[in-house]
Amino acid sequence: MKSKSTKKMIGRIFLLLMISALVLSACGGNENNNNDVVAQNTNDANNENMNTNDAADEEPAMPEDVTITWLMVSNWPVADSGFLEEFYKEYPHITVEMEATTINQMYEAIQVRVGGGASDPDVFLVNAPLTTGYGTRGLLLPLDDVFTDEEMANYYPAAVEIGSFGGEFLSAPIHTSTQNLYYNADMFAAAGITPPAQDERWTWEQITEAAQKLTIDEDGDGIPEVWGFNFEQIELFYQLQPLPLSLDCCQSISDDGLTVDGIINSESWVEAFSWYGSLFNELGVAPKGAISTAELFRSGNMAMMLAGPWQVNALAAGSADFGFDYGISLHPYFEDGEVVTPTSGWHLGVNANTEKEEAAKAFVHWFTTETGGKAWFSHVRSALSAQQSVNEWIGTAEIYSEAPWNFIQVAIGELDSNPIIRPPVVGYLEYTTLIETAFADIRNGADAQEALDLIALRIESELAKYAP
């Protein structure tokens, strides 16, 4: 009998353990399920100070401590920059926890988590043209009640336009951007070529000619030690859209956002991307494969690159070690075409399902208005502000008066050079991620016409679901 009751007891304990494990596994799954939390900025000191205040009853009620999650990209040097500490000065009760990931993984996380109804992340980065798609899916909380009329008027109009959908302001712009030509002045001197001046705009034909002269394969193994030219974001639509539009401005998709056949595989697009492909293949002035253009430039293995103003950060950080002089000039264009430059940038949006709406909106408001804007450009110094007043401040700020920081002035001037936004259509995510695969294929040697024809078919296949 004793043995039977012991067995029964063991059986019950086992059953209890199994049920506990099941319940725990069911409950514990969603907590912080992104593995890429690379930085976590806590506001413990402030929180501790607040928590130890036992005399709270006698003072005005303090806001409750709250932690919000911000889904962002891992290559932004925000951690330890001092930027969030500026926010904490004004909002000591809010702690921002950063979830950093790659751009494509961030898109997927937004789609899967926010699209699936999760309440976190509370705030996430919005690639500006994706506002329409996110708005259509109801992923973003309207921000119209967050900003004053004056604050809205301070944004560049294009930033407000691209951040709005269905009559609501859904994503607030952190910054806008453009691209400039950066060059290694020493390499130009060695090759006997006069580089373009800061206010000079070369054609792509001039770039091609110079790149061929600047490409050096000293040991003759077919792999140059110095490459002539490359794009910083080698196959990103943002960076490459101006190529075909320089030849035939300015359509990248049909007006209803559903068709691309006859547009992205038209003569001008094929011509532009045949030239692009030739850089990596026939001309051999740019490297194939996944090699960072910016790193090649900084290490003295790339003579020219078309890059964003954020590169000034890296140039400033390492200028003493480079051992070469460098310069900046304006965005090139095709000789028979017109000047077209890329623009727009990252916005911030609040998850429509957040349970911390007030704190999330407070963070977005602070970040995307003047105080946060200036803090961003003091600590992180990335791209250009989408706020006109902040860019005016950059124009007068002492830290931006010397090289290479004064390059930012050249970039700000470029914001008026026929800036073209990416098409704010509902299927932008499909459009851009797919067309970028075609750019990669062309770079790796595929025929431009064939690759663009195929991708036109592929994109329309995805966009078909949006047809009314």
Binding site: G11, A21, A26, T136, L429, A440, S461, K465
Partner: protein
């Protein structure tokens, strides 16, 4: 009452496993079937029953058929290679040669490596610029290969990546099957004057028929739903040359939010897999 309690215990013990099965297997399957009859869920309020519209959209989509074609081509290349080499390795490992146990351990290593890790390693090794494989090729005077970068080589490169893990895995089953064959039968054949080849083709292979059926079915399922290498390396490119159907399904649903289309596609794929497996079972039917 006692009898009832006694009968209940096994079911209670099974409950956790059944609950997990329900949550992670049965529910997603039912959910997929339901989702395939609804619109694309673009907004929370716009979900609408559309009957077979998602199926007709998917079946009239050229990309779906291209993806299906790539999947079949991949399987037609990959499965015979994996099964054949797995059998060859199993036969070698079944021998009583000196040091064979060490060789067995080495061959088993890929099984212990997770698919994500092995895929990442292969991606690094086959990198166009910095991959060790191109370094080795350069040593013997062969020019750098583009592997995952061009459509002519990408699918074959994926075959190599998957075979590295697939061959040892399938080999285990062949090895178990070989070791089940009674030595007496083989020795009797030898005494009767059968050569090694005759013994292999007339005795060993027929006795491995059931193992063959299992390996073929398992390999077919694993390769028809192959996902990790595509997701981690090629994302379906270049020029859709590695756009296997599971990746296409994932991308539609999880990346582009077309849950209805993705679910419909998945059901079509499941039906195709079922037909393929049915044909395999028929072809390898054993009488016992």
């Amino acid at each position: 009452m006692k009898i009832k309690q006694k009968n209940l215990a096994p079911y209670l013990l099974l409950l956790p496993a059944l609950a997990l099965l329900l949550v992670f297997r049965i529910y997603p399957m039912i959910s997929t079937v339901i989702e395939s009859f609804y619109t694309n869920n673009l907004t929370a309020d716009a979900r609408e029953f559309v009957g077979f519209a998602n199926f007709t959209r998917v079946l009239s989509d050229q990309i779906f058929w291209k993806s299906l074609k790539v999947t079949f081509v991949f399987n037609l290349i990959n499965i015979p290679i994996q099964v054949f080499l797995a059998l060859v390795v199993a036969v070698i490992l079944n021998s009583r040669a000196r040091g064979i146990s060490l060789f067995r351990s080495i061959v088993m290593i890929p099984i212990a490596v997770s698919p994500v890790v092995s895929t990442t390693l292969w991606k690094t090794m086959m990198d166009y610029n910095a991959g060790v494989l191109n370094g080795l090729l350069a040593l013997v005077g062969i020019p750098r290969q583009e592997f995952f970068l061009v459509k002519e080589q990408a699918l074959w490169s994926i075959v190599i990546v998957t075979a590295w893990k697939g061959i040892p895995y399938m080999m285990i089953f062949f090895l178990a099957g070989l070791q089940e064959i009674p030595v007496a039968v083989l020795e009797a054949a030898k005494i009767d004057g059968a050569s090694s080849w005759q013994s292999f083709f007339k005795i060993t292979l027929p006795l491995l028929k059931r193992v063959f059926a299992f390996v073929l079915v398992t390999d077919t399922i694993l390769n028809l739903i192959l996902f990790a290498p595509i997701w981690l390396i090629t994302k379906g490119g270049p020029q859709l040359s590695t756009n296997l159907i599971m990746y296409e399904t994932y991308r539609r649903g999880m990346v582009y939010g077309d849950l209805g289309g993705s679910s419909a596609m998945l059901i079509v794929v499941i039906l195709i897999v079922a037909i393929v497996l049915g044909l395999q079972f028929l072809a390898l039917r054993t009488d016992d």
